[in-house]
C-alpha cells in the first residue's frame, strides 16, 4: 500500500474544500431563488402547443424577475424565479417521470405542465404523492379534477363548459329569433374524456332549458379516423338543423373535408374548441367560413391586459399570439407567483393553501378574474368565435366581449 505524502494529503484536502465550497454556493444560490419546474412537450406531436405554453410561462417569469422577483415574507426579501424546464416529448410516461423528478430531485416548490389531457392525467398523480402544487395549463378534462387531488390545479376552464357555452350561444340565437326553437342537433364527438365532457356540458344545458334542442344523433368516433362516410351518412339521414362535433385538429380537417364533399349543410356548425386554426383554413379555404368554436382565449378579447399580453408576447417571442395556448400558461405562472407571495414562504403546503384562495384580478382570460374552484380547476367563461370570410375571425359571444355579429343561420353556398 502506498503511503500518502503530505503533498497528497494537502491535495485531497484542497479538493474536498473546493467541492464543499461549490456545494455551499449552490445551496446559497438555491435559497436565493424560487425553483419552478416546467414539464411540457416541445418535441413530438404536441410540440407546437407545448412550445406556445412554454413561451407564455417564460414571458410571465421574465416579467416577474424584471420586477425584482416575488416577495417572500419568511425570507424578508424578493426572490427571483428559477425555471427548470423538461421536454416530455409528448410521451405520457416520460411526462410523469419528469414531473416526479422536478418535484423530488429538483425540489421545485411547484410544477407547471401537462399539455394535453393525456399528459396532464399522467402528471397529475405526482402532485399529491410529493405534496407539491402542480398547475396544468393545458388539460381541462374532469378525469383529472374529479379525483379529489389536493395539490392539483388547472388554469383551463372545464371542457364541459365548451358544450355548455355552445348550447348557451345557440339558445341566445333562438331567443333573438335567428334560429327556431326545437333545433334538431347531430352530435359527433371524439371517443375521449374531452368528447364525453363536451356532450355532458351541452346536454346539461339542454335538459335545464327544455324545448330548445332535441338530440337527433349522438355518436362517437375514434381519434385519427380516416373515413367518416358512414357517420356522416347517419348525420345526413337525421335531417338535423345543427351539426356539432368535438375533435382534435387533424380529425376536424378530415371530417369537415368529407362533410363538404358530401354536400352537407346545416344552419350552424361547430367542432368544439376547433375552428379558427390557420392549418384548417389553409386546408379547406372558404369551406371553414362560419364555423363557430368555444375557445379558452382569443387575441380579439377587448381587455387592455389581454392586448398588452399580446404585445408583450410578440416582443418576447418574435411572433404573434395566434392561438389560445399561451394565455392560460401565462396566467398559470402569474397566479402561482401571487400564491407564493400570499403564502409568504416557500413551504409547499402553504403555497397549496394560498392557491386555493388567491384570485388573479387582472387575468387576460375571459371574465378577467382567474381563481380555482374547490376541485382545483379554474372556471371562467368561454368565448365563442365564428370564422368569417377572408380568414377573419370574430368573437360573437358573450355580447360584452363580442367583436362582430354572429351569422345565424349560415348561408348555403
Amino acid at each position: 500500500m502506498r503511503i500518502l505524502s503530505l503533498r497528497d494529503h494537502f491535495g485531497r484536502a484542497l479538493m474536498f474544500g473546493v467541492v464543499f465550497l461549490i456545494l455551499c454556493m449552490a445551496s446559497a444560490a438555491a435559497q436565493d431563488t424560487i425553483t419552478i419546474g416546467v414539464v411540457l412537450p416541445t418535441t413530438g406531436s404536441e410540440s407546437k402547443p407545448g412550445l406556445y405554453q412554454k413561451e407564455g410561462i417564460e414571458l410571465a417569469i421574465k416579467q416577474i424577475n424584471d420586477a425584482g422577483g416575488i416577495m417572500v415574507k419568511s425570507k424578508g426579501k424578493k426572490l427571483k424565479v428559477n425555471e427548470i424546464f423538461y421536454d416530455d416529448s409528448t410521451d405520457s410516461k416520460k411526462s410523469a417521470s419528469l414531473a416526479e423528478r422536478a418535484m423530488s430531485a429538483d425540489n421545485a416548490v411547484a410544477v407547471i405542465g401537462g399539455y394535453s389531457t393525456v399528459l396532464g392525467i399522467a402528471e397529475s398523480v405526482m402532485a399529491d404523492r410529493y405534496k407539491t402544487p402542480w398547475i396544468t395549463t393545458g388539460a381541462g378534462a374532469t378525469a383529472i379534477f374529479g379525483k379529489g387531488y389536493q395539490y392539483a390545479f388547472g388554469s383551463l376552464s372545464p371542457v364541459a363548459l365548451i358544450g355548455t357555452t355552445s348550447a348557451e350561444f345557440l339558445g341566445a340565437m333562438i331567443d333573438q329569433g335567428k334560429l327556431k326553437k326545437g333545433l334538431k342537433i347531430a352530435m359527433v364527438v371524439e371517443n375521449t374524456d374531452h368528447g364525453t365532457d363536451y356532450v355532458t356540458g351541452f346536454t346539461d344545458w339542454s335538459n335545464k332549458h327544455p324545448g330548445y334542442f332535441q338530440i337527433a344523433v349522438n355518436e362517437k368516433f375514434e381519434l385519427g379516423a380516416t373515413d367518416f362516410s358512414s357517420i356522416l351518412q347517419k348525420v345526413k339521414n337525421s335531417h338535423a338543423d345543427v351539426f356539432l362535433s368535438d375533435a382534435h385538429l387533424p380529425d376536424y380537417i378530415t371530417m369537415h373535408r368529407q362533410y363538404l364533399q358530401n354536400g352537407l349543410h346545416h344552419q350552424m356548425i361547430s367542432y368544439g374548441a376547433r375552428g379558427p386554426e390557420a392549418a384548417a383554413r389553409q386546408a379547406l379555404g372558404a369551406g371553414t367560413d362560419y364555423i363557430f368554436a368555444g375557445i379558452w382565449w382569443s387575441n380579439k378579447l377587448p381587455y387592455p391586459q389581454a392586448k398588452k399580453f399580446a404585445t408583450d408576447y410578440k416582443a418576447f417571442t418574435g411572433h404573434d399570439v395566434d392561438s389560445w395556448y399561451a394565455a392560460p400558461a401565462y396566467d398559470g405562472m402569474r397566479i402561482l407567483a401571487k400564491a407564493i407571495e400570499t403564502a409568504g414562504s416557500l413551504d409547499k403546503t402553504a403555497i397549496r393553501d394560498a392557491l386555493k384562495k388567491v384570485e388573479l384580478k387582472d387575468s387576460v382570460l375571459p371574465g378577467q378574474v382567474l381563481k380555482f374552484s374547490a376541485n382545483g380547476q379554474a372556471e371562467y367563461p368561454f368565448v365563442i368565435t365564428q370564422n368569417k370570410p377572408d380568414n377573419k375571425v370574430d368573437i360573437v359571444f358573450p355580447k360584452d366581449a363580442a367583436t362582430g355579429d354572429p351569422v345565424a343561420p349560415i348561408p348555403n353556398k
Binding site: K220, N237, P250
Partner: protein, 311 residues
C-alpha cells in the same frame, strides 16, 4: 337507410379500397421478395406527402404530378436506403428481429427529420378538386379527388402487374418469392433483385403518400394509422400476392364502411337490431387480422385458384 344510400356508401368504400391498396402494395413486394416487414413504410408515406406538398408550394405543381414525380425520386431513395442499410441485414426465409428493429429505427429517424424540417404543424394540399364532388341525384356524391386518387392507384396496380408478368425483373421477383435458392441456381442475381425491389416498394410508398396527402392533413407522424391497415391488408391478401392486396383492401374498406350502418339482429324479448358504434370501427382491422391469421394463414387469395397469384 335506402338502397341508394347503401350504393353511395359502397362507392365510397371502393374508392377507399383504392387508396388502401396503393399504400399496402409497396410493403407487400418488399415482404414477398426480401421477407422484411418494412416498418419504415409509414415514414416513406409521410415523406411522399411532404414531397407532393413541396412540389405544390415551390413549383405550383399539381399533387398528381407530384405523386408521379415521387415514383422515380423515391425509387432512387429506396435504392440508396437499401445500399446503405438494408443489404447488411442477414439473409433469411422469415422476418428477423434485426430487420424489424432496423426498419423501426429508420422510421423514427425519418419521423424526427420530418419534425426538424417541417415542424409538427398539420399541413394540407388544397386544390380546386379538394372540395368538389360529382353528385348523382340527391343521395350519391363522389368526391372528385377520391376518384382521381382511385384512378391513379388502379393504374399503378396494373403497371405493377405488367412488371411482374412481362419483364425480366418481374420474373426475378417472382422467382425470389417462390424459392430464393432455386432462383439463385437458375441465375437470378438476388442482391440486384433485392435492391430494385426495395426501390420499387419505396417508390410505391412515396406515390401512395403523395396521393394520401391529397385526401388528409398530415404531419411527420402521418402514416401510423395506415401502417396498421397495410399490415391487415397484406395478411388478408396473403403476404406475397399483389392481386390479394387489392382483394384485401376491398374487404377491409367495405367492412369498415358498412360495419356501423348494417343492423345486427339480436333476440332479447323479441327481435332487436343493434348497430356497431362508430367508435368501435378500429376494432374491425384487428379482428380481421386475428380471424385471418387463425383461419386463413395464407390469406384470402388462397381461397381462389393459383392463377390469382401473380407472385
Amino acid at each position: 337507410m335506402t338502397a341508394i344510400e347503401y350504393l353511395d356508401l359502397l362507392l365510397k368504400a371502393l374508392l377507399l379500397a383504392g387508396v388502401y391498396a396503393a399504400m399496402a402494395v409497396g410493403m407487400t413486394v418488399v415482404y414477398g421478395v426480401m421477407k422484411i416487414v418494412n416498418l419504415a413504410h409509414a415514414g416513406f408515406l409521410m415523406l411522399g406527402a411532404y414531397f407532393a406538398l413541396e412540389m405544390f408550394q415551390r413549383f405550383h405543381l399539381d399533387p398528381i404530378w407530384g405523386a408521379i414525380l415521387a415514383i422515380p425520386a423515391f425509387f432512387l431513395f429506396g435504392m440508396i436506403v437499401h445500399w446503405t442499410l438494408v443489404r447488411w441485414l442477414p439473409k433469411s426465409d422469415t422476418p428477423t428481429l434485426a430487420s424489424l428493429l432496423l426498419m423501426f429505427g429508420f422510421w423514427l429517424v425519418l419521423q424526427n427529420m420530418g419534425y426538424l424540417f417541417w415542424g409538427n404543424e398539420d399541413q394540407s394540399i388544397l386544390t380546386p378538386l379538394t372540395l368538389s364532388a360529382v353528385h348523382i341525384g340527391e343521395s350519391i356524391s363522389i368526391p372528385k379527388v377520391n376518384l382521381v386518387v382511385f384512378a391513379a392507384a388502379a393504374v399503378c396496380m396494373v403497371v405493377l402487374q405488367v412488371i411482374f408478368n412481362k419483364t425480366w425483373f418481374g420474373r426475378s421477383m417472382r422467382a425470389e418469392i417462390q424459392n430464393p435458392y432455386a432462383a439463385k441456381i437458375v441465375g437470378v442475381d438476388d442482391e440486384r433483385t433485392s435492391r430494385l425491389t426495395f426501390g420499387l416498394g419505396t417508390a410505391f410508398a412515396g406515390f401512395a403518400g403523395a396521393l394520401l396527402g391529397m385526401l388528409y392533413s398530415f404531419s411527420p407522424d402521418f402514416g401510423r394509422p395506415f401502417l396498421l391497415r397495410s399490415f391487415v391488408i397484406i395478411v388478408l391478401g396473403g403476404l406475397e400476392s399483389v392481386s390479394g392486396v387489392a382483394l384485401g383492401a376491398i374487404v377491409l374498406a367495405v367492412l369498415e364502411t358498412f360495419s356501423t350502418t348494417i343492423p345486427f339482429p339480436w333476440y332479447h324479448h323479441g327481435w332487436n337490431y343493434y348497430y356497431l358504434p362508430p367508435s368501435y370501427q378500429p376494432v374491425i382491422p384487428f379482428a380481421l387480422l386475428v380471424v385471418v391469421l387463425l383461419l386463413l394463414p395464407k390469406g384470402l387469395a388462397s381461397l381462389f385458384s393459383r392463377r390469382w397469384k401473380v407472385a
